[in-house]
Symmetry: C2
Amino acid sequence: MGATVIDVAKIAGVSRTTVSNVFNGRAKCSEETREAVLSAAKQLGYTPNMAAKSLVTNQSHLIGLLLPSYVDNNTLTGSPFYNIILDGMYSVLREDEYYDLMIFCIPPQRVLQDVSAWMDMRNVDGIIAVGEYERSFLDELDGRGIPVVLVDNYALNGWGHFSYLNSDDTRGGYLATKHLIARGFRSIALCTSTLDSPISHKRYEGYRQALQEAGYQEIVLEKIHTPFEGGLALGEEAIQQQVDAAFCTEDMIAVGVMNALLRKGVRIGQDFGLVGFDNLNISAQVYPGLTTIDQNIFAKGAIAAKTLLDILKNDALQGSRFILPVVLVERESA
Amino acid sequence: MGATVIDVAKIAGVSRTTVSNVFNGRAKCSEETREAVLSAAKQLGYTPNMAAKSLVTNQSHLIGLLLPSYVDNNTLTGSPFYNIILDGMYSVLREDEYYDLMIFCIPPQRVLQDVSAWMDMRNVDGIIAVGEYERSFLDELDGRGIPVVLVDNYALNGWGHFSYLNSDDTRGGYLATKHLIARGFRSIALCTSTLDSPISHKRYEGYRQALQEAGYQEIVLEKIHTPFEGGLALGEEAIQQQVDAAFCTEDMIAVGVMNALLRKGVRIGQDFGLVGFDNLNISAQVYPGLTTIDQNIFAKGAIAAKTLLDILKNDALQGSRFILPVVLVERESA
DNA sequence: CTGAAAGCGCTTACAG
DNA sequence: CTGAAAGCGCTTACAG
């Protein structure tokens, strides 16, 4: 609130250097000195000022979290995915009170340049970036020289400061489609926003592979929109095309499809098989429950944070690529 | 990235004071000097370092956001409420690139003392606190001398640095219950986690008032749990008690109740009337759609942020109390 | 309209 | 094991 290292030094009867040393465990010092400093600090309610500390050490202990934009600008609201991944990150950061997260939601109008200036201004020690970004922006990120953890980004290697974290998207698509086939469905559509997104494309590849193995035909239904609303439209489409099952590349799309079908009186699980991807809370909350691919988003957030912290503390190397396993969670929809 | 005020001064051929003046619009200066400084800054890619700035001005341009704990520690995942309110806050902060948010999720084990030290360390300029807190912690918050905006907190007045933001919870409870009565339901339960929470209690008061006016009996069903799981149990309870309608104090509870009832073959909307509170996205995504009380959470977040910024800029006074209107959104569940 | 000097609260070689 | 001194990048009276 006000006490500085000088106040503590005065009361403890030592120099500021010693106070600093005690707090940072730098130089050895006698046990008495240590205790004198600590008790003086406690008495004064002393807390080191990060701004001052940051200025001299050039470490802000701040992590920048980059989140992609959404159609309607409300990144967080758009999908529960972000909640969960944030909770995962905080679960790790909490144990390391030292590091704080600063979120940069990047809406379409906000030029990436602004974001860059922002990171300069706050002097972030590291970055976690979720989703896909322009190549030139990635170049710039890498150019900062600080560690970056990329989550759900399928950019190829070649940068020195990036580490990658993905789910096994292809396998997820494969497992989902295999399950629908095993359940006896024969006309299985893929419902997605757009296959232009690398992540959707990976999931599509798994879908295609499973269909090929079974000798079935692929039916790709795309609809660019916010996930739920897109799903609503895709549900109508699925009925028109007379497919009897769908693998959706996101749970929220599946929830939209389900809603559209229930409205038409289709019995989900019997007449129509539906599998999502993510295992968001909502997939267990709708009725009938949604069968889906669990990608453990919470762990993803935790691992992203852990990876970055380890690199910052020189406990890990940059450049790793980590792929999280996925698993099918069977509920009532297929 | 590296350029300092000195580098800029050198290139522009002026003193650091002048550079600082130009950037902060402090003293008047000739147009030529201004341009020289600006172009030098641009050339060098200069961005003022917040840590240094903060150290001398004693303003961090950091806002601390306090979020309450959840049963399972995963604050954000627990309810989509937080997404939306965050989006609302960011919508305001984005226009004011200068301010950043730092989130403090407060799980049960994290002593409030730690949080306090944290705010000291980061030297936050202001605080937004969502939910209820211990009286002693509120005392301490007020004692910091920085502005605090309390959201969904029903603590009484008496502190000098607090401003309050609430929804019209009582009216919401009243509207919801009135609606169920008008729909012809006669045995209307209130489903909630606990009436010990002031916010639930306010909603309960509206419920009670409406019932009294109609001469109906109140039936309070409580279940302390995460909202959805609690709702599941409350749904069972509602069937046993043979009530024919329920007003739930949160949408997520209502979603749980709905799930439990659908599972028993109850036709929601016809056999059973259900009204929630919040108007989360999920209330429009489940089938049948959930009738609910809209409290415009996005606006709540935006207003909270705006209120704090205005106070920080001396454009507004502390101590205001703002109550947001609520409105009933009719869907299919009642 | 512009600049020299002091200082914000801390850490970091360096000397003792 | 401990301390005096310089310095991190900025702003702020104050003088001119």
